[in-house]
Amino acid sequence: MSKEKIKINTEFYDIMPVEYQELVEEGTYGKEGRGWKDVGESKELIEEHSLCAGCPESIAFRYVLACLPNPEDTIMVGSTGCTSLVFPHVAVHNIHSLFGNQNAVASGLKRALSYRFPDKVKDVVVLAGDGATVDIGLDMTLQSWFRQEKFTTICFDNELYANTGGQSSGLMQKGFVAKMAPAGKKFEKVNLPEIAKVSGCHYVAKMTVSKPNRVEKAIRQAILIAREIGPTYIQLYTPCILEIGKQMMEGLQEMRDSEGPNKRFEFEEYISEEAKAYLKTVAPKKKKRKEISA
């Protein structure tokens, strides 16, 4: 389908916003092998957003959107938080529901899509913060993995409730003192990647967004596996520079510092045997548009 769906009627072309015109002319919908290398040379699927200057979360957003293998047939499900401030500026179909409901909404959506479009590849990607994934929406997150729902869950882990002033979240490190958690976190950071493995996820990855190659590979694999095999989970460290007391240009260094050996965001990847066998059958970048059976 590529860009046919968003093409502008020639008579109305001049009154459409410049950004939309650029998207139609230079957007990367339908491009084979799209990835982070397209940024800077073609129109990105994200527009000027309202996140803070230097926010690592917006770097992560750029990579995720640049790496979706099939953006025109992808539906993203968001949740409350800083991510929900960006979704209005994203040129991919997206849904916002109640706080924590994202995996339940995505389950229904994926099932409905596979009935309605049995011959088409339709990807569903959940993108939510750590509060929505681990605290408020943990029930929905886990249940969707237990049921083997075929979609990808991406968690932007900033280790606290940044949008509301810095309350402690389940993914905050033990002992960390935040603006609205002055006594410090009392218990350990919840190890969601491990929980995901035992809950039935077929692909689990934990990393920071300081290496776009790695993010691209993880997202592509997660989405491919979610099409055919079962649920997948990616946890990306996107520190909130405001709440951890960093300057706006220090976000990248903070991510690099957290991913060293034995640090809490050291790169980890888990692929189930079934998923490994499947990945061998699809050569990367060539068969990623392989059609799904209902």
């Binding site: 000027e48 957003h49 200057a53 230097g54 917006s58 750029r62 240009m249």
Partner: protein, 70 residues
């Protein structure tokens, strides 16, 4: 007065394949690759002046981006 990034064309090594500033800029469509001149260019209206591009460029010893006041 706002601080925005500015590329020094002579020092930019984008023609050799460097994409550091484009890659790590948190803003979308802000630092673009100019195919004609083979350098990075900043869209000033979108730049929030976070200085991240200056940090990555200077830590790679290219020193091709500086902040200027507009």
């Amino acid at each position: 007065m706002y601080a925005v990034a500015e590329v020094v064309d002579e020092a930019c090594v984008a023609k050799k394949g460097c994409r550091l500033c484009i890659m790590y800029c948190p803003e979308a469509n802000t630092i673009l690759f100019n195919k004609e001149n083979q350098v990075a260019e900043v869209v000033e209206q979108r730049c929030k002046g976070c200085e991240l591009c200056v940090v990555v460029c200077s830590s790679a010893k290219h020193n091709a981006i500086r902040l200027v006041h507009r």
